[in-house]
């Protein structure tokens, strides 16, 4: 039997580790079915020696995370492939994993490769999320690599007939320390001889998986702290990269969704005759309010989706208030839930007795993922199982969710993770994965589904809107004595990752769960010492919870940018009221702290603030600067936060055109402490992208709607940062503020999301410094800035 095309894809994943995200054209052609593969073709490429698990024809049991062979393969040619259950979304985590695992294994970095995120060949480490790739998952990866080294050294001990302590290893070659010429070095590849390790590990889950070998001291790690180039970039530059969106299999059909034209509408009738004449038309699939068209060719499906005549019954009630009225609505509507307040001291009494009191309200609209490439997936049932080719960053969740949704055994389903457009949280890639699986299951043919631009921009999940009220008080010396934070988040029915009962198709087909998730309102993250402080949060519902494009899901942090905009803007307002320099004011609040400093976050915050100020050349003075007279005025702003263990301080210089209202972030300085840095260059670029994403959110991004439909539907109606906005300079200072920076167990924390938090406030603070005008409603569009300047 000729193997299913997916089998070859699977074999390729195993055999061409490094090129899993850099697929050679020839292999892809086989995988895509354009060239029919044969068993012989696989065997000549020597795959079988490295097959870890039963044939990929399915079913697809979970790789056993307690088997060393599930994590590491060493070939006779002394190359190693690491199999990790994470996904690299373009931050270089795959390269970083190779660095830390090569170090623990003691093998030449250049001879390693990394296979990521496909559910049948890599253990379930959850895919990506929470910026935890190195902070959490890096450790089991290091431990299994160290264990492989230990086992190989035992083999070498037997080979040489000397104790392990008499052996030395360098770049995967073991020799005796005595240097006896008769004992020529032996490679790892020769030692394992094309066999498996057959070593059982221990641990309750993939986070705690371990062998017996200890980890290396940081000082002994050769590749850590160096910047080998990211291994995914060459194929993205030379055009050979194959993405999930490029995947083709024999007999594949193309599908497009048809969404209701007004939110909350009910399907009344479909006139299939309206598309029967479209060339290549195959079928209209509908269930509940879910409608899709399927055609032979992509452009035919696009045409059929456009021309299909569907009658919808409008909803009885409006789904949401217009986005222009959102914050009035949020402040007037009874919360659906509230979280327990966090209280230190007596805020109300402190405010009553204070020399100066201040209050302000901040409004942060819904902002979308707005992926650059609309959501897509290919689902292939043609071997009696179900393979989904997807870029969803949580491929394991997609597999489990689809199995539950279709009510089929999860061993029948595998997700082949492939590269895709940027994914920073719960994107619509998940919805498209379920939809493609549903259609393929219905038609029993491979179906490739892609959303339209309008669908992506309108219907992807949104970061929740926030209406935040703050009060604060200063004593006669200008010290902060009280801070009162009260957030309302429009986060009712926040959808989780790959939930079989909240994905869009589950909602539209009537298979959704009964009770919406409560959602939450988050609190700021800082280490300021303030004697009286109260943090309150509640969630307000929109009128329509289900089948709505205003649906909340995790977007990069996922609440940090919103709450930090309010908290760090307000700290700046307090500093201005105290006529204090904004950096010195924050430094004072940090240095007043005397309590427990777990993870050294307070001292690391101080170190970052000082490092940023030094790089920026920050000279102390209160904001705002001199009263502006010119058309184009300049200002500077600072903001700070942390996420988990990672600290970021950001300083910006902005130009504000008082005639046009345009804000240009001209210069960015970011001091960042994420503990041990694995690859400084890749980290720098990741931070640059995160910083600019938040500049985009500060200046451009808002999901707009009237009271029946989305108004933000494409790049004209939903603008984003462009080349025209590029800062003149972005300077990243990688701080190591650990009190004992040379300790051998210096941890590697997460990076990627922390920098997204302070920027919105940093820009607002700089606009205030430049103009004396405080912007409290995002985004700072030219119209909004002009209105504020005139007020």
């Amino acid at each position: 039997m000729a193997p299913h095309s997916g089998d070859v894809e699977n074999a390729r994943l195993r055999a061409f580790g490094a090129s899993a995200r850099r697929v050679a054209r020839r292999d892809f052609l086989r995988a895509s079915g354009l060239m029919v593969a044969s068993v012989a073709a696989i065997s000549v490429e020597g795959v079988e020696a490295f097959l870890q698990r039963p044939a990929a024809a399915g079913p697809y049991p979970d790789p056993d995370f307690l088997q060393l062979d599930s994590w590491i393969v060493i070939r006779p040619d002394n190359t190693a492939t690491f199999f990790v259950g994470k996904t690299d979304l373009g931050q270089g985590t795959g390269t970083a994993f190779r660095q830390i695992m090569a170090d623990e294994l003691d093998i030449d970095f250049a001879k390693t490769s990394c296979v990521m995120g496909s559910t049948d060949v890599t253990v379930d480490q959850g895919g990506s999320g929470g910026s935890d790739a190195l902070q959490t998952d890096g450790y089991p990866m290091r431990r299994v690599a160290a264990e492989a080294r230990r086992v190989l050294l035992e083999m070498a001990s037997t080979h040489f007939g000397v104790p392990v302590t008499a052996l030395a290893v360098s770049d995967g070659v073991v020799s005796t320390k005595t240097g006896d010429s008769a004992d020529r070095g032996i490679t790892y590849g020769e030692l394992i001889g094309g066999k498996k390790f057959n070593v059982t590990l221990t641990g309750k889950n993939t986070d705690t998986t371990t062998g017996r070998a200890p980890l290396k001291a940081v000082q002994e790690m050769k590749n850590v702290g160096k910047s080998p180039r990211r291994d995914d970039i060459p194929a993205k530059v030379d055009g050979t990269q194959r993405w999930a969106v490029d995947m083709k299999v024999p007999g594949m059909l193309h599908a497009r969704n048809v969404r209701p034209p007004m939110v909350g509408a009910t399907l009344k009738a479909i006139d299939e005759s309206s598309v029967k004449a479209v060339p290549g038309f195959v079928k209209v699939v509908s269930k509940g309010n879910y409608v899709a068209v399927v055609c032979e060719r992509e452009e035919q499906a696009i045409r059929a989706a456009r021309e299909l005549k569907v009658e919808w019954t409008p909803p009885a009630t409006k789904p949401f208030p217009p986005s222009e009225d959102l914050f009035t609505y949020m402040r007037a509507t009874a919360p659906s839930s509230s979280s327990a307040p966090t209280v230190t001291g007596d805020v109300d009494t402190a405010i009553l007795g204070a020399a100066t009191t201040l209050q302000a309200q901040y409004d942060i609209p819904f902002q979308g993922h707005t992926a650059f490439g609309p959501a897509h997936a290919l689902a292939d049932p043609s071997n009696g199982q179900l393979t989904i080719y997807s870029n969803d960053m949580k491929s394991y969740g997609l597999r489990n969710g689809v199995a539950r949704f279709l009510n089929i055994p999860r061993e029948m389903v595998r997700v082949v993770w492939m590269q895709g457009p940027q994914a920073y949280g719960r994107t619509a890639a998940e919805d498209a994965g379920f939809e493609a699986a549903f259609l393929a299951h219905e038609l029993q043919r491979p179906v490739r589904l892609q959303w339209s631009r309008q669908e992506e921009t309108a219907w992807d999940t949104k970061g929740p809107a926030y209406a935040i009220s703050m009060r604060g008080a200063l004593d006669a010396q200008g010290q902060v004595v009280a801070l009162d934070f009260d957030a309302r988040a429009a986060d009712h029915n926040h959808v989780g990752y790959n939930e079989h009962d909240t994905v869009l198709i589950a909602q539209l087909t009537g298979q959704r769960k009964a009770e919406p998730a409560r959602g939450r309102a988050s609190f700021p993250s800082d280490k300021y010492a303030i004697p009286a402080r109260r943090l309150r949060g509640s969630v307000v519902p929109l009128p329509l919870a289900w089948e709505t494009p205003v649906r909340m899901g995790n977007l990069r942090d996922p609440d940090g940018p919103q709450v930090t905009f309010a908290s760090e803007s307000f700290i700046d307002e307090l500093a201005a009221a105290a006529k204090a320099d904004p950096v010195a004011f924050r430094l004072g609040l940090l240095e007043r702290g005397t309590g427990d400093d777990a993870g050294h976050k307070r001292v690391r915050s101080i170190a970052c603030l000082k490092a940023a100020a030094q790089k920026f050349g920050w000279t102390p003075r209160p904001a705002p600067g001199p009263v502006p007279t010119a058309d184009v005025v300049t200002g500077r702003g600072v903001a700070y936060s942390y996420r988990s263990e990672t600290v970021a301080v950001e300083m910006v210089e902005v130009e504000v055109n008082r005639r046009t209202g345009r804000v240009w972030v001209k210069r960015i300085v970011c001091a960042h402490d994420c503990g041990l840095v694995i690859n400084p260059e890749a980290l720098t670029r990741t931070l640059e992208g995160g910083l600019l994403h938040s500049v985009s959110r500060a200046l451009y991004e808002e999901a707009r709607f009237d009271d029946t439909k989305m108004l933000s539907v494409d790049w004209v109606s939903s603008p984003t940062l462009t080349h025209a906005d590029v800062p003149e300079s972005i300077e990243i200072v990688q701080v190591n503020g650990d009190p004992n920076p040379n300790r051998p167990d210096l941890p590697h924390y997460g990076a990627g999301e922390t920098v997204c938090k302070p920027m919105l406030a940093a820009v607002a603070n700089a606009v205030f410094d430049a103009t004396g005008v405080r912007m409290r409603r995002l985004p700072f569009t030219p119209a909004r800035v002009l209105a504020a300047l005139k007020a």
Binding site: G90, K236, G239, A371, G373
Partner: protein, 154 residues
């Protein structure tokens, strides 16, 4: 359906498609040239960019019938004899891509820009590139890579 002859990356292809089909789908699905990508289908983002007669063209809104018998270059045709084009090399050296999905459009737009303006000012780069979007926000590195490529191509 009509038989249409396309000249892509120095090769001649004949395809049987509806003449109104956007060039993008023919390149991707019939010729398996997946450098150009679908981003919006509206000519707004640049993901689908190809070069036609030295111009950066958005293939998602260009009917295939209007692309017949003219030389089309896709990302796959940018390197010559296995050697990266200086723009690609600059992209590699600056480690520009994050997810990389938009970079086809970035590199080909930069190619058209540098062919017309070999030594662009910063303002010319901003203007020339501003209609080609990136949601990973690699703009800062793209800007540097365009300058690096311009210097090397001088």
């Amino acid at each position: 359906m009509a038989a249409i002859t396309l000249l892509v990356n120095g090769k001649r292809h004949t395809v049987e498609v509806e003449p109104s089909t956007p060039l993008l789908y023919v390149l991707r699905n019939d010729l398996d040239l997946t450098g150009p990508r679908f981003g919006c289908g509206l000519g707004q983002c640049g993901a689908c960019t190809v070069l036609i007669g030295g111009e950066a063209v958005r293939s998602c809104v260009r009917p295939v019938s209007q692309a017949a018998n003219v030389e089309i270059t896709t990302l796959e045709g940018l390197s010559k004899d296995g050697v990266l084009h200086p723009i690609q090399q600059a992209w590699l050296d600056e480690q520009v891509p994050a997810c990389g999905f938009c970079q086809n459009g970035q590199m080909l737009t930069a190619k058209a820009l540098l062919d017309k303006t070999p030594n662009p000012t910063d303002a010319q780069i901003r203007e020339g590139m501003r209609r080609t979007l990136c949601r990973c926000m690699t703009y800062y590195r793209i800007n540097a890579a365009v300058k690096l490529a311009a210097k090397r191509m001088a």
